[in-house]
């Protein structure tokens, strides 16, 4: 029998005094939507703590859309932090939704957001706390249907056995279609397997149980998914893209939290997609085409959103906000409107090639905090390889302007282990950092030099599906360590601070990004050995994963580092953002020649194939510089 939909808050209330941040678990926030009476119930779950998940725009959008549907109620769920999870487990209290404090197992649908690869064990932790069987194949007629979607859905195979259906791409329309279909099939009394199979008829929906794993050869260790005979499932599931981005509500948020969040503010998505074409970047492919909202729509949405929420900060979000053709005009209008209210406007970090100190000051409310720039690679050659179109002159110009305008702190982001990288490129990172310190010495008055800080943060490159580098392996861990040492010894100035992403975390991220369905048992085994919240460095432990891997007969380093051959089937070929394989291959070859490819919103179409495949196109409001 299905768990009853009932308010069980009284079970967790006695635990609240004894756990960190009890406000994570209490709901009753301003703007929470819920319908005590509904025919069909969905619980959308962010696979991390409340304060990490609440700002998520994807869930916020779908939450609003579902609750606006007649007869459908949508609630939220988050993964309790380890203290609360353990307390609940030891008392046999099941995981509850936030609004209704009802067991997750009592919902018709539980929908996971997939923010990144490192949340893998958290889906299992969530399902287990909820008392829902972990494997799709083991779920019964009364268990909720488990769906998942989000930015990291473009290699779903490692999660395939745990999720009944993946929604690929923009969910604004497909979530409603899926919910309605499941409501219909439930009311018709169809068996679970058939209800799940029927979802495959909805465009953009990938139902893993309708696919089996095929192998090209022994050199293809992870295999690739092909539809089972007579399943009627498509060979390739293409992502959904909404018909008209500008017709969607620019205010995604409704809920105003009590708990302090890292990004505690109103967010307005001012544009979707980025066509700069960095070759390592998955989002640069999967969010295409590029669609801007108009300045009028943005300004009106900010005013209305602030009125509804009472926030004192608004962020204009997107992958690359300063690329918006009307960015400056929007900021001017907003700053004028908000003068004297104590409300500030912010944008995600600026680009080096268009850095404007006035703009930076305008969005920082006159404050000069730290500036951050993504440089990504240490030499022009390597930046051309990855198609990161910034030059040393850009860095020079931007840093001069920043120091002259009074900034003192900056942080530069780089990657290590990029394809074709040599020691020269690593030394180049050190050289750039030293150069910035020299600039500071030249420009910053002597008495203020103490405040100067230049830091560089170096991540390990993780090859992602559906990018021109999807065939590449990750750099071996020992070699990563050697290059890190090389970098440390190449930096001359003592004023440069160097920090690294943990190579262990990057290794696992590569395993989860590059593996096939064969990786799924590893996730289960690691979770059994206590892995959860792997995205939190205090919780992450590679040894647990190593032990789990040897129990499963999997070699983590091999999965992360072994390149794929061009022409081989890849484990993610059947779930596509619409990019043409030929384009990715061409870009890969151009990369090897260090040939760059321009931005299609500034020149003409460069033939990635996404627009024709999805029947969509770039929508640019003005003229991009």
């Amino acid at each position: 029998m299905r768990a009853a939909y009932e308010d069980l808050f009284h079970l967790i209330e006695p635990l609240l005094q004894g756990v960190e941040k009890p406000s994570r678990y209490i709901d009753h926030e301003w703007g929470a939507l819920s319908k005590p009476d509904a025919r069909f119930r969905v619980c959308l779950v962010y696979p991390d703590t409340y304060e990490v998940g609440l700002p998520n725009q994807g869930i916020a959008i779908l939450y609003r859309i579902l609750n606006a549907q007649e007869g459908i109620s949508c609630e939220r769920g988050y993964l309790p932090w380890v203290d609360m999870a353990d307390a609940m487990r030891s008392r046999n209290i099941p995981l509850l939704s936030l609004e209704g404090a009802a067991p997750l197992a009592s919902f018709d649908v539980v929908g996971f957001h997939i923010p990144h690869e490192m949340a893998a064990t958290n889906y299992l932790e969530t399902l287990d706390l909820a008392g829902i069987p972990l494997l799709s194949a083991e779920r019964g007629e009364d268990d909720p249907i488990i769906i998942a979607g989000g930015p990291s859905v473009y290699n779903p195979e490692p999660l395939a056995p745990y999720i009944d259906a993946f929604l690929v791409g923009e969910g604004e329309e497909s979530i409603v279609e899926v919910a309605r279909e499941l409501e219909r099939s439930r009311d018709e009394g169809l068996p679970r397997a058939e209800r799940v199979a029927r979802l495959a008829r909805i465009a953009g929906t990938y139902v893993p149980s309708l696919y089996e794993v095929a192998y090209d050869s022994e050199q293809a260790p992870h295999g690739h998914a092909v539809p089972r005979a007579d399943s009627g499932a498509p060979a390739v599931v293409y992502k959904r893209v909404i018909a008209d981005f500008s017709a969607t509500d620019p205010i995604a948020q409704s809920v105003v939290p009590y708990t302090e969040l890292v990004h505690d503010r109103l967010s307005i998505e001012v544009l979707r997609g980025c066509a700069r074409g960095c070759r390592f970047c998955q989002a640069g492919i999967t969010y295409r085409p590029v669609r801007e909202r108009s300045a009028d729509q943005i300004v009106a949405a900010v005013a209305r959103g602030l009125e509804q929420t009472g926030y004192d900060e608004v962020s204009l979000t997107s992958l690359s906000t300063t690329d918006h053709s009307q960015c400056e005009c929007v900021l001017d209008r907003l700053n004028e409107r908000l003068a004297g209210t104590g409300i500030s406007v912010s944008i995600p970090s600026q680009r080096l090639d268009s850095f404007d100190p006035e703009l930076a000051e305008a969005v920082a409310g006159g404050k000069r905090g730290g500036l951050t720039f993504a440089v990504e690679a240490g030499s022009q050659r390597l930046r051309d390889v990855i198609n990161k179109n910034v030059t040393e002159e850009d860095l020079d110009r931007a840093m001069r302007a920043a120091f002259e305008a009074g900034w003192r702190r900056c942080k530069l982001y780089f990657m290590m282990g990029l394809p074709t990288e040599t020691d020269e490129d690593i030394v180049g990172i050190a050289r750039l950092a030293d150069h910035v310190v020299e600039l500071a010495r030249e420009i910053v008055p002597k008495d203020q030099r103490g405040g100067v800080s230049v830091s560089i943060s170096v991540a390990v490159f993780v090859p992602k599906s559906h990018t021109p580098f999807q065939w590449c392996g990750q750099l071996e861990r020992d070699e990563v360590k050697r290059r890190q040492q090389l970098l440390l010894h190449s930096v001359r100035s003592r004023q440069v601070r160097v920090s690294y992403h943990d190579a262990d975390v990057s290794l696992l991220e590569a395993v989860l990004s590059r593996g096939g369905r064969d990786i799924a048992p590893l996730i289960l085994e690691a979770w059994r050995r206590g892995a959860r919240f792997d995205a939190w460095s205090e919780q992450f432990d590679l040894d647990r994963w190593r032990d789990a891997a040897s129990a499963c007969g999997i070699d983590l380093d091999r999965v992360a580092c072994e390149p794929y051959e061009i022409g081989q089937h890849l484990p993610w070929d059947h779930v596509s953002p619409g990019v043409s394989p030929g384009f990715l291959e061409r870009e890969y070859r151009r990369a090897a020649q260090a040939e760059t490819t321009p931005d299609c919103t500034r020149t003409s179409c460069t033939g990635c194939g996404i627009c024709p495949r999805l029947g969509a196109e770039n929508v640019i409001e003005g003229e991009r510089k």
Binding site: K21, Y258, E260, G310, D312
Partner: protein
């Protein structure tokens, strides 16, 4: 805008229900958002990062409810208090709702400095009331013993307790003006599924205690009910242990306070709730008054 032209609106609000689990900073941030949602013409501070001019009463601990919290928000233009209150109520979650508003003199002392008297009421659910009563010496009524401990704590003068990695000292001589314990029996009505509380009959043992605390704060600090309650509980638990029954209340208190108190459950109370029930200030002639006249008078300036 110069200070003299501002209007100082004083607002009373509750913190109750689930929202009593909010921390102080969470409450402050939420109230600022309520003021902005209400569309009041709030004033902002000068400087690089301007923020709302607003000030609050002293922090309530996580889990403590209140029916008498206050804030002063400075407005640039005059809005009739009744209208301001209505807009604030509309923009507020019910468990944090304002219930009175009125204007006060710009030069009046700040709320946190002026409100020196606070009363708390707490209900404490006993883990196993009869077992506890049995352990207490001479089968005396447990509330009587409990009160003895409270008096002994007050006589002891202060409680040193652990907070984070530090030890803190909480004075009781100047902060605890009075304490009272009452015993209740819970009665369930099987038909209506409701509960009521009544005083125990002779010989009957209560399920619940009611604790009333009258406190006073000064520059030296204020009383933290949860610290007092845990000290009290630790003493009761210690007294209940075999071999300790013969000790006097003072000896028990001296014993359990010999080391800094860890503020955590000691097994006597299954669960307790604390509510701040009044906050008052002292006038020059020593009278205790509320920060605003009673709600019915709060119609304007």
């Amino acid at each position: 805008m110069s200070e003299e032209n501002l209007f100082r609106l004083r607002v009373a609000y509750v913190k109750q229900g689930r929202l009593r689990y909010l921390g102080h900073l969470e409450v402050l941030r939420t109230i600022e958002r309520i003021v902005r949602r209400a569309g009041l013409p709030y004033a902002v501070t000068q400087g690089f990062s301007p923020h709302m001019k607003i000030s609050f009463t002293s922090a309530l601990p996580v889990g403590t409810a209140s029916v008498c919290e206050w804030y002063d928000v400075y407005l640039e233009t005059y809005v009739p208090a009744r209208r301001a209150l209505a807009s604030l109520r509309k923009a507020s979650p019910a468990d944090l709702a304002p219930y009175a508003a009125g204007y006060v003199d710009l030069r009046a002392a700040s709320l946190s400095a002026a409100l020196t008297h606070a009363a708390y009421r707490s209900t404490l659910e006993l883990n196993d009331a009869s077992a506890l009563a049995g352990h207490l010496p001479q089968g005396a009524p447990s509330v009587g013993r409990a009160l003895q401990i409270l008096n002994a704590l007050k006589a002891h003068g202060c409680i040193t307790y652990v907070r984070g990695r530090k030890n803190k000292k909480m004075d009781l001589v100047n902060t605890l003006d009075g304490a009272m314990v009452t015993e209740f029996v819970r009665e369930k009505d099987p038909h209506s599924h409701t509960e009521s509380l009544r005083a125990p009959k002779p010989g009957e043992i209560g399920d619940l205690w009611g604790l009333a605390l009258v406190t006073r704060s000064s520059e030296k600090g204020a009383l933290r009910p949860e610290v007092l309650i845990r000290a009290w509980e630790k003493a009761l638990a210690f007294w209940g242990q075999a071999g300790n029954h013969g000790l006097g209340a003072e000896e028990v208190v001296a014993e359990i306070l010999a080391e800094p108190l860890v503020v955590e459950p000691y097994g006597v109370f299954a669960h307790y709730e604390v509510t701040r029930v009044s906050q008052q200030m002292e006038t020059k002639d020593g009278k205790l008054v509320e920060p605003l006249p009673r709600p019915q008078d709060a119609s304007g300036r």
